[in-house]
């Protein structure tokens, strides 16, 4: 058997990926070429380190290998390209490394950070931003990303190649970003990390054993980001939100992948260490004031995590947090959550009235979530026949298999008990 790096060594290796790429880019600027070279260096490390041992300075080792790969790559390319880059191949590899290592210092943080912004370039589609972030910042191999998204490796390779070409043609070699640029583009980076986190839940099928866990990966990359931006309240908010949500992971599905809603989860199986860590990060993020939607969503997740059960949950506080969230993000989905919180505070009738307002909003009027929420509140209001109708309608409209199964089963149980009530068994 080929010796492999254990998981924590793999993570340490991947943590170095953005720093090594940042160092290469500082010198060579060519994003596509540098990115490929770093990938090859990571693969070489994964193959050599288990037998030869981890070098004393892993980062310098990776920079050396990646630089050699880059110069090899440049030598083997076309004559035009060769002429342009000749100066690079004439500098002996060792000297290049010395330069790169010496130059690392005050700017290293910004350069690593700029990689996040490069991968989330506005000219890219969301799917490309996600793939490129996982590869360049996350240090994942193309095959690993492909398996995580259940697409063929060739397709993912093309998506990455096209993403790099798009960046190149958008003229963003590796631009110097100002602090204002970075502030403006940070929300896109956060959104991409949150997309990756959510994808970890929704990807279905395939062999879990051989798939990188995207939610864990998103948390790892967010941890790297918070090291670069320790004082940004929304980076803290996002990491806290991920940890506070992920803490419930083991409890949210049954042995056959069936969905277990929050109010039915066995709360003792929630990950207390994740919850405390999430709360600590959230407290720190909130100490700068409430400045954005991730902090608020994390605060809502924390209130759920702290409660013994659904009845003991501080719904009044959750309701006011949703009202606050609407100021940052006035979306029908937030209004839907707000209506459900309102029903927990003022009863199902109040919630159903709020849902009536949403039913005329074309952005959500045919969404299965609206039907599911209505079904749930109708059930609580004792209108079981109507509830069954909406549970079934929601089941027809959802695109998630476990959610469809949950909704169908719920409708069937209600329907069975209605039938039982109408025709009591004769004994």
């Amino acid at each position: 058997m080929i010796p492999r790096l254990d998981n924590s060594a793999q993570d340490r290796l991947r943590d170095l990926a953005p720093k090594v790429l940042g160092a290469l880019l500082r010198r060579y600027r060519d994003f596509g070429g540098c990115e490929d070279a770093v990938q090859e260096a990571l693969i070489a490390a994964a193959m050599q380190w288990p037998t030869q041992g981890v070098p004393d300075n892993p980062k310098a080792w990776l920079i050396t290998v990646a630089t050699r790969r880059l110069t090899d790559q440049i030598r083997s390319e076309t004559a035009r390209r060769l002429r342009e880059q000749l100066v690079v191949s004439l500098i002996p590899a060792d000297e290049q490394i010395a330069l790169a290592a010496d130059a690392a210092g005050v700017n290293e943080r910004d350069e690593t950070l700029d990689l996040y912004f490069m991968c989330c370039h506005p000219a890219l589609s969301a799917a490309s931003q996600v793939a490129l972030t996982l590869r360049a910042v996350g240090g994942l191999a193309t095959g690993e990303i492909a398996r995580a998204f259940l697409v063929p490796e060739a397709t993912m390779a093309q998506r990455l190649t096209r993403a790099k070409l798009t960046i190149k043609s958008a003229g963003a070699a590796f631009p110097e970003l100002t602090p204002a640029d970075r502030a403006a583009r940070l929300p896109v980076v956060l959104k991409v990390l949150y997309l990756i986190f959510n994808e970890g839940y929704t990807a279905s099928g395939g062999d879990q054993l051989y798939r990188v866990d995207l939610s864990t990966e998103a948390i790892r990359v967010a941890r790297l980001l918070i090291r670069l931006l320790p004082d940004d309240p929304e980076v803290g908010g996002l990491l806290a939100l991920m940890l506070l949500t992920d803490a419930r992971r083991a409890a949210r599905t049954g042995p056959n992948g069936e969905l277990i809603p929050l109010d039915e989860q066995v709360r003792s199986s929630w990950d207390r260490a994740r919850i405390s860590e999430g709360e600590r990060i959230l407290q720190r993020a909130l100490s700068w004031g409430t400045t954005g939607p991730y902090q608020i969503q994390a605060a809502i997740a924390a209130l759920h995590d702290q409660a013994e059960n659904s009845a003991a949950t501080d719904w009044v506080e959750i309701l006011s947090l949703y009202e606050l969230l609407l100021r940052f993000n006035d979306s029908p989905m937030v209004r839907l959550s707000q209506a459900i919180a309102l029903a927990m505070v003022d009863g199902p009738a109040a919630g159903l009235l709020a849902l009536d307002d949403l039913a005329v909003d074309p952005r959500i009027s045919t969404h299965h979530r609206l039907d599911a929420a209505r079904a749930h509140l109708l059930e609580r209001a004792g209108q079981h026949a109507e509830a069954i109708r909406y549970y079934r309608q929601a089941a027809q409209r959802t695109m998630s298999t476990p959610e469809r199964n949950y909704l169908l089963l719920h409708a069937a149980r209600l329907s069975d008990s209605l039938a039982g009530a109408l025709c009591p068994p004769t004994t």
Binding site: T202, A203, M344
Partner: protein, 134 residues
């Protein structure tokens, strides 16, 4: 989001490839190869398969002991699945655009077949934040 694009063809309809002139068959095959290549290059292709013709199809049911009972071909079959694509795209509109391109595959005389392509979204796992109470 992933979509399955199914090319359903009516029995006795325009997709009687065996009766086309060689040149039209060649053009059709080239179109299909190139179409899959383009989807792959766009980073959108998940799978593409053509299925053998309905003459080779069997219908299988379990008998009382769970053993297969195999039935032969059904000449009355009105429509059959000729092939499918699974694509991973950014929007339903993009899936429809791909379907329209497949629909216009050249047929007899090089004219577009304009077959109906059935587009269905592939189901996902659980949404991350699904709870009736939050």
């Amino acid at each position: 989001m992933k979509y399955m694009l199914m090319m359903n063809t009516p029995a006795g309809g325009p997709y009687q490839i065996a009766s086309w002139p060689a040149q039209d068959i060649k053009a059709h095959i080239a179109f299909m190869m190139n179409f899959a290549k383009k989807l792959s290059a766009a980073g959108e292709l998940v799978a593409a398969e053509g299925l053998s013709g309905p003459d080779e199809a069997k219908r299988v049911r379990a008998d009382a002991s769970g053993q297969p009972i195999t039935d032969g071909v059904f000449p009355e079959t009105k429509e059959f699945l000729a092939g499918y694509w699974i694509v991973d795209v950014e929007s339903p509109e993009r899936a429809y655009a791909i379907a329209a391109e497949a629909s216009a595959a050249p047929g007899s005389g090089g004219k577009p077949l304009n077959l109906a392509i059935e587009v269905r979204q592939v189901m996902t796992g659980p949404p991350t934040d699904w709870t009736p109470d939050s």
